[in-house]
């Protein structure tokens, strides 16, 4: 499958996808399909966890030389026009004289998330003639406190550069996600590409969940987890609010199944953020956690969503990103969606969601993956999200 778009011929994006089970071949096929123009500047690889990342990296190198930077990560599902969602390799390529990219990596990130962010922020340069920039970050999704990585970046860059990206995933095994940085495969790391462009680059983000009932107050929190809300065990109140079946209270698998499509809403000034709490269920102490810290005294909500509300969020995120391009047609979209949304969307619904993306992309290609966290900072200083679709429109 080959798709491309070249509004003025100076910038192009191509996307390739391969379902071949042999990792090196799959990566090479996808990379070759993605190279739809001259002067490739950056290859971004999204690979299913079933593929060996060292072979994936080698397969991409079989197609492009050392002079083209490559970054990538493993996923909980791949996003590309029309193809399968699992077990594939997707490659997005950017190129042409109107684009440039510089890549960087920070390693041993756990315990020094903020410093790692500062390092990556310092790696961002300026290139004369390419005034528009975005910092694309792919992180190891099993590293905690990812917001601190972004705070580190922001302390160096301020609002001058939007942040976009996602947390690499491991097919929901929760053991080990991998990142690709050039010829290396990394864990406990963050890899970045600064994309420089002649034309605007614009970020949009939305979640597709609505609050249920009244808000609850966090009356007990410890180590960033919620012990109690409204002075009662947090997990029990949350399950009650949502009318969970009896087995969700006692059986971990049943609990995860129930909680996955029902995020916990965290009140913010202009709305409610959705947080996935399914990965850190604790049936013994009845607490809730996940997706970053919860502050004592904060306001939280039970939330729910369905295919319709999520498709509406897809529309809104795409619209927001495309609006930021002004008069420019998009040459392509990067779309990073939350792994937990797949608990709401069955396989058919995932295809309908992709059809929605295709509608907004019009003739332009799009590529992305299902992540353990989405990165999108275009306003304010908050940039790490859960349960959302984050879209980068490249003008």
């Amino acid at each position: 499958m080959i798709t491309d778009a070249r509004p003025d011929g100076r910038r192009w994006m191509g996307v390739g996808q391969s379902s071949t089970t042999e990792s090196r071949t799959a990566a090479a096929q996808a990379a070759r399909a993605a190279l739809t123009g001259a002067e490739p500047k950056l290859l971004i690889v999204f690979s299913a966890i079933e593929h060996d990342p060292t072979h994936v990296r080698a397969g991409v190198r079989d197609v492009v030389g050392d002079d083209v930077p490559v970054i990538g990560c493993t996923t909980r599902g791949e996003i590309a026009p029309g193809g399968a969602t699992d077990g594939t390799v997707v490659v997005a390529a950017l190129g042409g004289p109107g684009f440039a990219a510089t890549v960087a990596a920070a390693e041993d990130v756990t315990g020094r998330q903020r410093d790692a962010g500062v390092e990556l922020g310092r790696s961002v340069t300026e290139i004369p003639g390419l005034p528009h920039r975005v910092l694309l970050l792919l992180t190891d999704g099993l590293v905690r406190e990812q917001e601190q990585i972004l705070r580190g970046c922001y302390s160096v860059l301020g609002a001058s550069v939007p942040l976009f990206g996602g947390s690499g995933a491991d097919g929901w095994r929760m053991k080990q996600a991998y990142l690709i940085a050039g010829d290396r495969v990394l864990t406990n790391a963050v890899v970045t590409a600064t994309i420089h462009s002649e034309a605007p680059l614009s970020v949009g983000v939305r979640h597709g969940f609505r609050t249920v009932g009244e808000p609850m107050i966090v009356t007990g929190s410890r180590d960033g987890r919620i012990q109690t809300v409204d002075d009662r065990p947090a997990l029990d109140v949350y399950l009650e609010r949502l009318g969970a079946p009896p087995e969700a209270y006692t059986d971990k698998d049943a609990c995860v199944r129930f909680v996955l499509p029902r995020p916990l809403g965290l009140q913010r000034r202009n709305g409610v953020d959705a947080r996935n709490v399914s990965t850190q269920i604790d049936l013994d102490d009845r607490s809730l956690g996940g997706g970053g810290n919860f502050d004592h005294g904060g306001l939280v909500w039970a939330m729910t969503g369905d295919e319709q509300s999520i498709l509406a969020a897809t529309d809104a995120a795409c619209q927001e990103a495309l609006a930021g391009l002004g008069d420019h047609e998009p040459v392509g979209l990067l779309t990073i969606s939350c792994a937990a949304l797949r608990a709401v969307l069955d396989d058919d619904a995932v295809q309908r969601d992709k059809a929605r993306l295709a509608k907004w992309a019009e003739s332009a290609p799009f590529a992305g993956f299902y992540a353990y966290g989405e990165i999108a900072r275009a306003r304010g200083i908050h940039g790490f999200h859960n349960q959302t679709l984050a879209v980068l429109a490249l003008g």
Binding site: G158, G213, N270, D295, L299, G380, I381
Partner: protein, 504 residues
């Protein structure tokens, strides 16, 4: 709904700012943490702390491109916009603090709309708390240096040690107060705690907290205190603001007032204003025990700290109240009609995905209007409150009870397998309500009629289920009151055949 959440969020942000800054060990890191937290709270791209016409901390600009002169100009109100790389021209606001080392908190944000009145209040509140935290850190740093010196000089400096211990106690007290606020301890308890701590640390005769009356802002009432001749739990003295001496002056002037010999009895006093959501609503006053007392600047600052914590507690408690009121019936405390319908809609949605059935009980008190008319509204309200308590006593935690208005109540039972399950609950409610109630000095016995309806497969509209329960309730009333009836499809036909239509 989001507005209420937003207002709550604003109050919470003040506590969070205090918590974040309290963890810092020096002024520089405290200023940086405060700037970041303020930007996060206001969804702003830029936040800066400006002290002595210099930018002490800033977030939002690329390193090396901070427009320090512009930020200082915003702090001085000479500018209200600032150019932010990546965003463009941003609206900028500032809030100030005075004291020994005056400073400013500056925020800038792109896009529309500008900063609202509420947001400006939050920024002002943050500036006040920041002043408090920075001053305390500065004092601690100075004292730490002195302590190192004094340790070398042996422990001869008893005064210094006492002062250090007092600082330590202040921090401990304030920490306890902050914890009590964020754990939502009852407001009177928190206020008494603050008054007690102030009295202990200032070593004075009495501490009193006076608040303006809701109905007459020119009148103030004593609501909490320590070392007072009156017990505020038993009596709450009230007086005109204009005659309230030091505390009245503090409320009227909006600043701390120190009076070396209060005109009433020749004793020194000082008072600081307290705020609720940015508006001055009262004052905290300390009165000396003996004549000849004077107040040193650190003691004035200490009083301000306590007054600031009173403001936090008031704002927080009232916001929680307002939020609760938005979702609950003010008389009974049960869920409001809209909250109930929202929860019911969600439960029906789950039922559609294979969850258990939902039962709805529609409860109408018999003869409520007669009681209300003969014994008065207060008696009517008492009856409603007792009714609500008795209904809730028969329910599980997962069930929801609501007052729909007037004498109508509704109950949602989750995961019900048959109408028999719901009927058992209805029967228990009827028997509970039939127990005698003591209202307005009389022994009353009330009855209720209950209609029961169960969700059917595919039923998504909560109004449809409410209507069925309502029809069944109407049937129960017709069948002799004090009983329940379960909805059956033929009841719909009976209505269309000419029975009086129930209220929608």
């Amino acid at each position: 709904m989001t507005n209420i959440g937003g207002a709550y969020h604003d109050g919470q942000q003040l506590l969070e700012l205090l918590a974040v800054v309290s963890e810092c060990l020096d002024e520089e890191s405290a200023a940086r943490a405060a700037a970041e937290r303020a930007a996060q709270a206001l969804d702003a791209e830029v936040a800066a702390v400006v002290i002595d016409d210099e930018v002490a901390a800033v977030v939002g600009f690329p390193v090396g491109r901070v427009p320090a002169a512009d930020l200082v100009a915003v702090a001085r109100r000479e500018l209200d916009k600032v150019d932010v790389p990546g965003v463009g021209c941003c609206r900028a606001i500032a809030a100030d603090w005075g004291g020994g080392r005056p400073g400013h908190l500056v925020l800038a944000r792109g896009g529309e709309p500008g900063f609202s009145v509420e947001e400006r209040n939050v920024v002002r509140g943050m500036a006040r708390l920041l002043e408090l935290a920075l001053t305390m850190l500065r004092t601690l740093e100075a004292e730490h240096e002195m302590r190192e010196r004094s340790e070398r000089q042996a422990a001869e400096n008893a005064e210094l040690l006492a002062s250090l211990q007092q600082r330590q106690r202040l921090l401990e007290h304030l920490f306890d107060v902050q914890r009590a606020i964020s754990r939502r301890r009852p407001l009177p308890q928190v206020l008494d705690m603050i008054a007690g701590a102030a009295r202990q640390l200032l070593g004075d005769g009495a501490v009193g907290l006076w608040l303006r009356d809701d109905s007459d802002p020119q009148q103030i009432t004593l609501v909490a205190g320590a070392g007072l001749a009156v017990d505020t739990e038993l009596e709450t003295p009230s007086m005109p603001l204009a005659e309230a001496g030091t505390v009245g002056a503090a409320i009227l002037s909006g600043g701390v007032v120190v009076c070396e010999d209060d005109s009433s009895d020749g004793l020194a006093a000082m008072a600081a204003p307290v705020h609720d959501s940015g508006t001055i609503t009262g004052g905290l006053v300390v009165t000396a025990e003996r004549s000849g007392r004077s107040y040193a600047p650190p003691e004035v600052q200490m009083l301000q700290s306590f007054a600031e914590h009173v403001s936090l507690a008031l704002t927080d408690a009232n916001t929680v109240d307002r939020m609760h009121q938005a979702f609950h019936d003010s008389v009974t405390g049960l869920a409001s009609r809209s909250l109930f319908l929202d929860r019911l809609a969600h439960q029906l949605e789950l039922t559609g995905h294979g969850g258990g059935r939902v039962a709805l009980l529609f409860i109408d008190l018999d003869r409520f209007k007669a009681i209300n008319d003969t014994l008065g509204h207060a008696a009517g309200d008492t009856l409603l409150t007792i009714t609500a308590d008795r209904i809730v006593a028969q329910l599980r935690d997962s069930d929801v009870a609501a007052r729909f208005g007037g004498d109508e109540f509704a109950v949602m039972l989750q995961n019900v397998s048959s109408a028999g399950d719901a009927a058992k609950v209805a029967d228990r409610i009827l028997r509970g309500l039939h127990e005698p109630m003591r209202i307005a000095g009389r022994q009353l016995q009330v009855n209720a009629s209950i209609g029961i309806a169960l969700s059917t497969h595919g039923m998504a509209d909560p109004a449809a289920l409410v209507r069925r329960a309502d029809i069944a309730m109407y049937r129960a009333k017709r069948n002799g009151r004090g009983r329940y009836d379960v909805f059956a499809d033929e009841m719909l036909l009976a209505f269309t055949d000419g029975e009086t239509q129930p209220a929608p």
